[in-house]
């Protein structure tokens, strides 16, 4: 075995040298401009110009911020249970977290992407991936709630996801870890040649956004790190960075860093779509959950799907090509014109930019440099558009301002670097505090970016905020990029790990945001639309309470005839039809979260009383002047008692 040289240590050492140089050269270049406060100040009652949807990484959720103020508006629960909003706790949303592995209360949410029409953000939905137990979720921006989650079979570490094509034809989910496909019991050290990487194309219904797996491309056993769609001239293609083309299964930090070049896989999905539409590919047995939340029934349902269409790339000639790209490229970013594909080679000192036009020419000329498992490899020089030479250390991700500039984050040298597309010259650099991962320009992944701000998302803050013990916040930093030089305006703490974000002009979204749910459209199985329908029904030891809530009482608020051993379902409908008048409810001893119910909505929690007594319940959201009076009692009798089931209000 050859001697192990650790390239990361080498680079870290190098970065120390460069850092000390930089300090001398640039002095306090990171100092704030004098009127920064003014430029991020959004006066009380005024609205921000942009929404920023910042993923929570290991929190599993998606946070909604305003830019430029950095104010947090909402944390949308996606993959993790949220007791505050009863997500994954109430009967309606438990099915949303169902998977082939059963109910899963957590995931790692990474890459939000906003739906597009004609390559521009349309603000209808946000898609986001769950890494750990591979899933894609859809958030509906008329309600800012998760309304669909689909599990991805044959995938593991769902990381090169969830990016949408130019007309939201597909949301794409690539596996990070290759695995046996289908899963089976086999020795780990037989990885090479046997493990596979699935790239999943999920079709999106243009009307209701319904997701369905169209096909899975079963690729060689590399790690598929990140991806982006082609746009404009390259619409119809999708690009995935790979690492571990060495196909190692152990000590990857070393063993997956040996090849001088890994690949960007270019996938002509239109060609595969056509192949599949003509009956191509094979249906393979599978088991994955498809969970849908219905806005009218206010209820989620989970369906297990039993097969998936898989496509072997070798059987679709001309559909997949490999573009050699230096040193374990991480981010895979496509500029607004669709011509340039940036491979952010995280272990390389240079940034590699491929040309879509040159790629097509090379394919036309069939100038291949061998193949990998039957997939043609193009020549590096034939597809290279240019190299940004020595811009920093550890390039991770690039976004675009729509004015011919690109902005790349450098994890190791902890900075954002602005450079010019075409001339590849570095224009400006600004430090990040510290260790930046992704960056986000609103619309930066579309044909039409809003090139006013860039948000850098930092993994480490150390001394930047008041300390909070060993665990301190991660953060986002806002830079003004409207001028030639970037200017740091603001940093603000985030929820969980601010892994990546998607931003959009607020005007596109805010007019569509619903104020209430119409009571007349409430089709919840246990919902009621007026006090006339209030009742309590017993079915064996199950008791269903059809309860209403409106300022400032529950109906009924006195219930008798419940017995120890009963399973009591509180189906509670908020009869309000006024904006921003939610009510909450919980009862002493409930082994679940409260409910927080929006006007016109019905939610359900289960209570299994264990002791006789008279137990109070109350409104948990400060709803009105008489909020403290919004309470009631349930009388619980011993299991052998024969007290009649009765209910009342105001008697």
């Amino acid at each position: 075995m050859r001697t192990i040289k650790n390239p990361i240590l080498f680079i870290l050492g190098l970065s120390l040298i460069l850092f000390s140089c930089k300090d001398q050269n640039q002095g306090n270049n990171g100092a704030l401009t004098s009127n920064a406060a003014e430029r991020v100040y959004v006066a009380p009652g005024e609205h921000d110009e942009f929404y920023a949807f910042i993923s929570g990484g290991f929190s599993g959720q998606l946070s909604v911020y305003g830019l430029p103020s950095g104010r947090l508006f909402k944390v949308i629960p996606v993959f993790s249970q949220d007791a505050e909003k009863a997500w994954g706790y109430n009967e309606e949303t438990k099915p949303m977290l169902n998977t082939s592995h059963g109910f899963i209360p957590w995931d790692d949410s990474h890459h939000p992407d906003i739906s597009q029409t004609n390559g521009e953000l349309d603000g209808r939905w946000v898609f986001i991936n769950g890494n750990n137990t591979p899933r894609i979720a859809k958030i509906d921006l008329s309600v800012f709630e998760t309304t669909e989650i689909i599990e991805i079979p044959n995938s593991a570490g769902n990381h090169s996801s969830a990016f949408v094509t130019e007309n939201t034809e597909y949301v794409v989910a690539g596996t990070r870890f290759s695995v046996p496909v289908p899963q089976r019991d086999m020795p780990i050290n037989e990885y090479k040649g046997n493990f596979k990487g699935a790239l999943t194309f999920i079709s999106v219904d243009p009307e209701d956004g319904g997701m369905d797996i169209k096909f899975q491309l079963i690729m060689p056993g590399f790690d598929y790190d990140l991806s982006h769609p082609g746009r404009g001239k390259s619409h119809g293609w999708f690009f995935f960075t790979t690492y571990n083309t060495e196909e190692a299964s152990t000590l990857l930090e070393v063993n997956a860093s040996q090849n001088d070049k890994d690949f960007i896989a270019a996938v002509n999905w239109k060609k595969i779509e056509e192949y599949v539409n003509n009956g191509g590919g094979t249906m393979m047995p599978a088991n994955y959950a498809h969970n849908v939340y219905d806005e009218e029934t206010h209820t989620g349902s989970s369906t297990m799907k039993k097969e998936v269409r898989v496509v072997n790339p070798a059987e679709v000639p001309g559909a997949v090509f490999l573009l050699p790209t230096p040193k374990s490229p991480h981010g895979c970013d496509v500029d607004p014109t669709g011509e340039y594909i940036v491979g952010n080679g995280k272990l390389s000192a240079d940034l590699t930019v491929h040309s879509f036009t040159k790629m097509l020419e090379a394919i036309e000329g069939e100038k291949y440099d061998g193949d990998a498992y039957g997939i043609p490899i193009l020549n590096f020089e034939d597809v290279l558009a240019g190299t940004v030479s020595q811009p920093g250390l550890g390039p991770l991700h690039t976004e675009f301002d729509g004015n011919g500039n690109a902005y790349t984050t450098f994890f190791i040298s902890s900075e954002v670097v602005k450079w010019k597309l075409g001339t590849w010259e570095v224009v400006d650099r600004q430090p990040c505090y510290y260790s930046v991962g992704h960056l986000m320009i609103p619309g930066g992944n579309s044909r039409k970016p809003f090139g006013k701000y860039v948000v850098a998302m930092n993994k480490i803050t150390k001394d930047r905020y008041l300390p909070t013990g060993p665990e301190v916040t991660q953060s986002a930093q806002l830079y003004d990029i409207s001028g030639e030089k970037m200017e740091l305006l603001l940093d603000f703490p985030t929820v969980g790990e601010p892994h990546y974000a998607a931003g959009i002009a607020a005007d596109i979204v805010k007019e569509r945001s619903k104020k209430i749910f119409n009571l007349t459209e409430n089709k919840h199985k246990y919902g009621i639309t007026s006090d006339a329908d209030v009742r309590v029904e017993r079915d064996g030891n199950e008791v269903h309470i059809y309860m209403s809530m409106i300022r400032s009482h529950f109906n009924p608020d006195n219930i008798e005839g419940i017995k120890v051993g009963d399973k009591v379902y509180f189906h509670v409908t908020n009869l309000e039809q006024d904006y921003d008048v939610p009510h909450g409810v919980s009862i002493i001893g409930a082994n679940t979260s409260e409910l927080l119910i929006m006007p016109g909505q019905t939610e359900t929690f289960v209570w299994e009383p264990k002791q006789p007594g008279v137990w109070p319940f109350y409104c948990t959201d400060f709803c009105s002047a008489l909020h403290q009076e919004m309470q009631g009692y349930v009388r619980v009798s011993p299991s052998n008692s024969n007290i009649d089931l009765t209910w009342s209000l105001g008697e």
Binding site: I516, I550, R551, E576, Q577, D578, Y579, A625, L626
Partner: protein
């Protein structure tokens, strides 16, 4: 004169009056249109929300219908028919009588409106959640203004006529104009 008689019919198209309630918690104010034959929300669910506010001080719910919604439309139709008959069959003196009749009918309507408002604002549930008294110790009423703007606790209430009322007024005024024009012609002749 025919135009004068027809204009009040626009009351079936446009609202007669509007009451608007402003409060800090209602950046979009609550509002209610009063039509000749109906109460209507200014924005969806406004009347339901006005009722919800008012129940704290023991006010009655705004009813779905009041007897006036039957009487007023009949009154308007009848006066229009009378006006049309006068316009084609009678001389200008009758124009003046029609004008006087319309003023009387409208005044009666306004008095009725005021009485309803007064009743609505003062006939409070004795078990009201919150009871307020005036500085002189009497029970505070919550009558919306008849015409104009008035502060009621945390609300600023506005009450103004709308397009329907203006057309009614214009119709009545035209009746008077028709009378003068008719008289002028008669004097010339």
């Amino acid at each position: 004169m025919a135009l004068a008689a027809l204009l009040p019919l626009l009351l079936f198209v446009f609202p007669l009056w509007k009451i608007t309630l402003e409060a800090p918690q209602y950046p979009t104010p609550l509002g209610m249109y009063i039509h000749i034959n109906d109460f209507a929300d200014a924005n969806p669910h406004d009347i339901k929300n006005i009722n919800l506010m008012n129940h704290y001080v023991g006010m009655k719910y705004i009813p779905d219908a009041i007897p006036e919604f039957k009487i007023f439309p009949i009154g308007i139709v009848i006066t229009t028919i009378i006006g049309l008959i006068i316009a084609f069959k009678a001389n200008h003196k009758w124009f003046l009588y029609w004008f006087i009749m319309m003023v009387l009918v409208s005044t009666a309507g306004l008095i009725d409106f005021y009485l309803w408002e007064h009743e609505y604002g003062h006939d409070l549930d004795p078990r009201a959640i919150m009871k307020f008294t005036n500085p002189d110790g009497s029970v505070m009423g919550f009558q919306p203004p008849f015409f104009g703007t008035k502060n009621i606790l945390n609300f600023t209430a506005h009450s103004y006529p709308r397009l329907g009322a203006y057309f009614l007024g214009l119709g009545i005024a035209l009746g008077l104009v028709a009378y003068y024009l008719g008289r002028k012609q008669t004097l010339k002749a």
